[in-house]
Symmetry: D2
Subunit: 498 residues, 4 copies
């Protein structure tokens, strides 16, 4: 029962005629699951043309009506939650409850987009001069493109799609080739929710499709989430083609544990943040910075015990549910294993070695891995591993911990665990990171706030969802008006001889 994942264009599943495809595997057992078609540039541009045509009528549909499509989409996502989560787990590997969690975070953006009539309001100024008024309208930009990563095949598309559509744009989604199936389910549910054909389209593919979309003069805006080198390339190329681009890249998120922290709470938080989804989250914690050796010793001891007892295995149909599933692919598994070896080679203390893991199925598994005594010169410190590998770095004081973070290339997320209001406040102000947790390990902003990092974790001034998302997907038009006098100075009564 092999699957073949195709395109969704103009309200229909459409087979690619490119003849190219990529294999799809179930990472929990390594079995071939089917193929995803890799579309041609021409097919991508065809989708753009469809989206361009469909956008006009959609733009003229009042925001209140567009919002109602989002209301129905939300209800449908809830009805199909289990199905969607199962698709995610099957192709990505994450455990079922985590897949449901992913869906919920995406669904919250749909809920946010239900408020679009309010969110789209422009500003009105009476009498900017005498009898001259000025007001702004936030109009859609046109055809928008989303290029999304394998690690959140539902959540990241839903960061973009609801806001873009609610603003009156049409949308083309280019999902990851590794777990493309959920994209078609989203398309089906949007259609069922009443979205007119052509307003939302999915084009499966690889670099050929991406390049075609980035070069098309009819694409107005591109949202991307992925690794930093690709994010940078997308931003650069899209910008050079005159588009507005928001490109979110990689991360190396540090969690600082202060001596006064609730250590039990911090340890539990780190476990979920470092090993959940096998570390394949751009907001995963991959570095724990322990302040003071006493803190570090306790923290490592506590972590060691918990990492060694992590339940690792398939994400579906196992009871009790595993805590951690496989990595997404065999090459990625091998890459993570290489990183572990480099840590050993460069002198870090390997406290728990996840390469030794044995699991019930022969999937792409690496067990929870813990390093101590990691230093800023090591590869495992500098690069994003995107696997279940946690590095403990020891800092002598708060200032050293802060400086460490601020000097790292990435600026996505960070957290500090402390009871001290002063430390938390200083950290929040001074850390050069876009999303900051205070005793919260993965401080992903809610849908009604905006997601985005600093430094080389983001390219472009506007973050994703929240008010920034609305701004990104709209063009401002400012009208200034006055009127010549005439009618209102005339009398209209017949002259009579009263």
């Amino acid at each position: 029962m092999s699957v073949l994942v195709s395109n969704f264009i103009n309200g229909q599943i459409v087979q690619s005629e490119s003849g190219n495809h990529a294999d799809l595997f179930n990472p929990a057992n390594g079995e071939l699951r089917g193929q995803v078609q890799l579309s041609s540039a021409k097919e991508a541009l065809g989708a753009v043309e469809v989206a361009k045509q469909a956008q006009h009528a959609w733009q003229e549909t009042p925001p209140l009506q567009r919002a109602r499509v989002m209301f129905r989409f939300k209800a449908l996502l809830e009805q199909h939650a289990d199905e969607l989560a199962t698709l995610i787990s099957t192709e990505h590997g994450k455990v079922h409850s985590d897949a449901l969690g992913e869906l919920t975070r995406g669904l919250e953006v749909v809920e946010f987009a239900c408020g679009i009539p309010h969110l789209l309001k422009g500003e009105h100024s009476l009498n900017v001069g005498r009898e001259i008024d000025s007001y702004s309208m936030m109009q859609p930009v046109g055809v928008c493109v989303g290029i999304t990563p394998f690690n959140f095949p539902v959540m990241v598309p839903l960061w973009m799609i609801p806001v873009a559509l609610a603003c009156g744009n049409s949308f083309i989604l280019k999902p990851s080739e590794k777990d493309p199936s959920p994209s078609l389910k989203l398309a089906e549910l949007l259609k069922e929710a009443g979205l007119p054909d052509g307003v939302f389209n999915v084009v499966q593919g690889d670099k050929e499709v991406v390049d075609a979309l980035l070069e098309s003069p009819d694409v107005a805006a591109v949202s991307f989430v992925g690794s930093t080198p690709i994010a940078e390339a997308i931003y650069s190329k899209g910008s050079a083609n005159g588009k507005r681009v928001q490109a979110l890249g990689g991360a190396k998120n540090h969690l600082v544990v202060m001596p006064d922290a609730d250590l039990e709470g911090a340890t539990n938080a780190i476990m979920g943040a470092a090993y959940g989804a096998a570390g394949e989250r751009c907001m995963a914690i991959s570095v724990a910075v322990a302040v003071g050796d006493e803190t570090a010793d306790k923290l490592v001891a506590s972590l060691k015990q918990k990492v060694e007892s992590l339940r690792v295995g398939p994400g579906l149909n196992v009871s009790p549910e595993n805590e951690m599933g496989p990595l997404v692919s065999e090459p990625h598994m091998n890459k993570v294993r290489d990183y572990i070896q480099s840590g050993v080679d460069q002198g870090a203390t390997l406290v728990v070695d996840g390469r030794d893991i044995t699991t019930s199925t022969p999937g792409y598994f690496v067990g929870g891995t813990l390093f101590d005594n990691v230093t800023p010169d090591m590869t495992i410190y500098n690069e994003e591993i995107f696997g279940p590998v946690l590095s403990v770095v020891r800092a002598k004081d708060y200032q050293e911990a802060l400086t460490l973070i601020n000097e790292h290339e990435f600026g996505n997320g960070t957290a500090i665990f402390t009871r001290d209001g002063d430390t938390a406040r200083d950290f929040s102000e001074k850390v050069e990171i876009g999303m900051v947790g205070v005793n919260v390990p993965i401080p992903v902003p809610m849908a009604f706030h905006s997601f985005g990092g600093w430094k080389r974790s983001i390219f472009g001034p506007l973050n994703v969802h929240g008010n920034d998302g609305v701004r990104f997907y709209t063009r401002m038009k400012t009208v200034t008006a006055r009127w010549p006098k005439g009618q209102r100075e005339s009398e209209f009564v017949m002259p009579t001889m009263k």
Copy 2:
């Protein structure tokens, strides 16, 4: 099959033990439909106590969760739309499609309230002084009361309830005694949507209940819609008891027809705005101001023909549907008939006399009535008739029309029909009215804007729904914070002899 309409307290239908009741009639045929219980002051205060207790946990429920109750409430209202509209028509008399329209406008406020996590945001200022931050939180006020009129037994309660609840308040609804049944349906659906017991309550009753609610120290906010004398009394009494009050009163809405207007469009607009719901709307047009005699002559001729051919009769189970139903009660019908006679007595030209109407059922009907040559000294000009009686006033020019409106006691709504940008803009700026239509006869603001008039049509600074509604149902708390230094200046490394 007589109905008995009771209270809804703490999640349950509760019978009043007061022993008092009022009769309920079907205005389409004058038959006795049943009774509504009139609760005692003690029962009202019991409901306040319930609401007070339930509010604490509801306030602590995150706004996102509260919003989801609203999402479910919306879905349930849609499912039960026909049932609710039938209840409205049965007790109020308006035709079914109009009752559905009423529901839709109320439902839009529920949709608005689904965005409460965004709408409740406070302001955060980093460094109001060096290392001092300040931020505001919008917290619920506590127990809120809504006292609502007979003419919109669903829409007006829904102007208030969704916003108040979403903000974290509990709510007591005191509906009109004339059409109380929909209030219990709303209560039932809110419970089904997951609202905790006690957060929403309905107390049927009359002045005794109102007075008890206005005097209770545990009621924080009162929203009222009704006639101006009662609005003023409620505002005064509620304010004297230290509550925040918004009290919306009566109206006498003028529609200006300029010589350049699209006369066909204006006539059609006036027909719906003057005679829809038998004129029992606070935004009904009761005065048409024709600018110039030529305009007036054409307008009156065109209206006469249309008024004479209005389909008047029961609001339910007639095909094709009638255009206008009965008035709400026999006393009100008699009052409207008296107004018509006063117009004749004071010298207005009675073009169409609705008192002559014959209908298929013996309900409280007055047909469409049209006066010409009405002047500002007449009773029918100065008072709110709340019936299907339209007065045409003739003005010699735009300025006279504008002055007429600005000198009237009320300031709820108004409209102007013109093609001229200058006239429309000047009218919009200069007219002393809260809601203004430009070629729109009933300019009720959308749920995401705010409803409210000027002058003696409203008491209190904040309008209903939209941002004003959120402000009304919240208390601002402003925190200013700084922290003593300490931990972050310490080293935590064991001194060693490295």
Copy 3:
């Protein structure tokens, strides 16, 4: 060189013809300084008429131009700062540096009002329906009245005046009879800044003037700051007359000292907050709640020493400057002394008795007074003393401290001193107080935030200055517009035989 403080109406100093006056004293030495005229109701209504007439042209002046008057007013206040501060000290008694501080906080509201073109923006919604737009305009309410207290003769008027004027209103200030001179200086500087005559007026007087203003149908809005009984009466009477009213009343501000607090910092903070301006501030700290007996013992010991060494004396021309000046009047001094005696009588421990003070001049002085072991049943705990009297209450834990505050009648300000993020956060959320300090003793919100308490410290839903101030001083008008088609479907080329 006796002063006679008159009215300022229509751009001129105008003598009252009422024949009534009140004496003005210099509280630092008890000498008679002159008189303030007490105007008649008729004179007050005359000022309303002037303000009403002047308001029309001012409303039509674009907000940008109105802002420029505020820019110039700011510059003039800075130029005349010393003069204004000296006037304050002379009539109120507070020390010069404190008077300058008062001016600065008022001046910040002028700075805020310079941004009025931005702050007045309404909302614009394109296509609320197809080809139907809706937008709001925030227009002035008309004639506004400010009734202000003796304790901040410059700051409190400046909380109101700049926002009200910038919004396009005219304004009548009724200052305290105890220190009215600064009001005329403000009037003079506003005129010099370019404010048209009649837009700002000052009427000196007492209850007769207040009643006349509250009853005038031409006054649209009243802002009041004073004691709770008067605030309640003003709110009730103004509301009964259909006005929008914001009335700020009394306070009993508690400062909680947690066991982990920086005690030295907390003690210094309390000293300034309890004894600054001789405690005559609605945001003064009058109750210190020490959590735990150990904390209490240390705190009282530390305070005792500092209170005993407070430099008390005249506010002007003494070097080094005194830390605390006299009370505002002889009757008030006596009232404060009576409160001290009642504390003793009811069993509180009088640690420092300010009644024993000796000063260089024979003014209305009470020295810093400190009570320990104050309990909630005592008069000095329940009532606002408005003098340099600090009560220490001992609580066994955080929860008891919180409950104490929440059960007090007033809800203006409060503060907590702690290092613990959790305690501060819980306090901020749970305390039923409008303005909360975390390690900040007097958490007065900045001009761009809003000032206002909860419970019986405020009447009316809108706070002072900040966005709330703008909302208070404006009426919302919502326009909904569509247009009949015509010209844009016509051709205008001459038919030719090309």
Copy 4:
């Protein structure tokens, strides 16, 4: 008395050591006025380093204090208005009153930036989850660069500088080489206003400087205004280097004259908009679209008369003042003359030929030039001439006029002259242009709104000044916080034997 225009770095005039310079001319008489130094890449990077160092302390200065620098800067600009306007006229050529107008529009952005404490507010959400809060801080981006054009040597820099500085950034201005002198005056006044040294710097230069700034990793944001090819190159290069960029390019602004327009008003409006500043404005009207031949005939006749009588000559020291000055340079003058010839060659009707002009001084003058019967295939229609050349295009109806505009490459500004509300509203919604005037010929948004076009007139999602300006010059940081319980659950009373 030759001038030498140098750099301003770290609070000082600094001579470039590059040895390169460009000549400066007085366009009104063609005389050599002096030189501007052309700095080296190394010098540009030195300025970046200075700006980087100075930014830290400036960021930590509370916004309220930063605003006060802007208040003082505003006052100084007003004091030095005549001097600045004279500098503008001398190097750019525009007439003195126009130079004063330019300054005023720039000064309004300074006024806007005075409100920065309000504008910088982040969003605060209490309880995004139970006892979890989230809030955003808008922090400066770091070192900002402005690259500005010759046509507004004061206004365009002031679109950027006040907002960037008020947000806490440091700034490097690279002015046009043609009229660099005002940049040093701005620097001097900022220093005098209290801006710390190094926060604002000016680097004179050409492409070498621009490239160095675009490549420096320490530059965070680049604002550019100039021609479209350069804007596109700057956007592309800056974006490729990871910066946020807003790049505003060229324009071809159409003004539609409908048959119902106030023709006299429209003609006067066109005269100012087409010939003011010799057409060297990115918001100049260069195309008038007359709807209907009758309209066109009247319009051309009326324009012809007025263009022929334009007073053209030096911008300074002539009484009465000339209406139009010279072009900025000899090459530019020649280019404009070539455009005129191309119009003739391609078949447009040359109604008034500005090449024939004779003036009192031998500067770079081209007189007012008027073409009729211009068509979309002509060079003068498609390209931005940036000179006093107006093309009249004839359209047969409204729809043709609208389509013409929407098909043009540029999308900066446009206007329509009509009395018809419907036409104006449809035009405002449908036209693909960022700034739209209704009976307003040059609809430049006010400082508190935002300036920006659509299509190839802008690159980047955020406009200049207004809220967009603040968003551009800030980075969002979102904090999510919760706290471990502890202290607040403890008792602190000594156990006693009560």
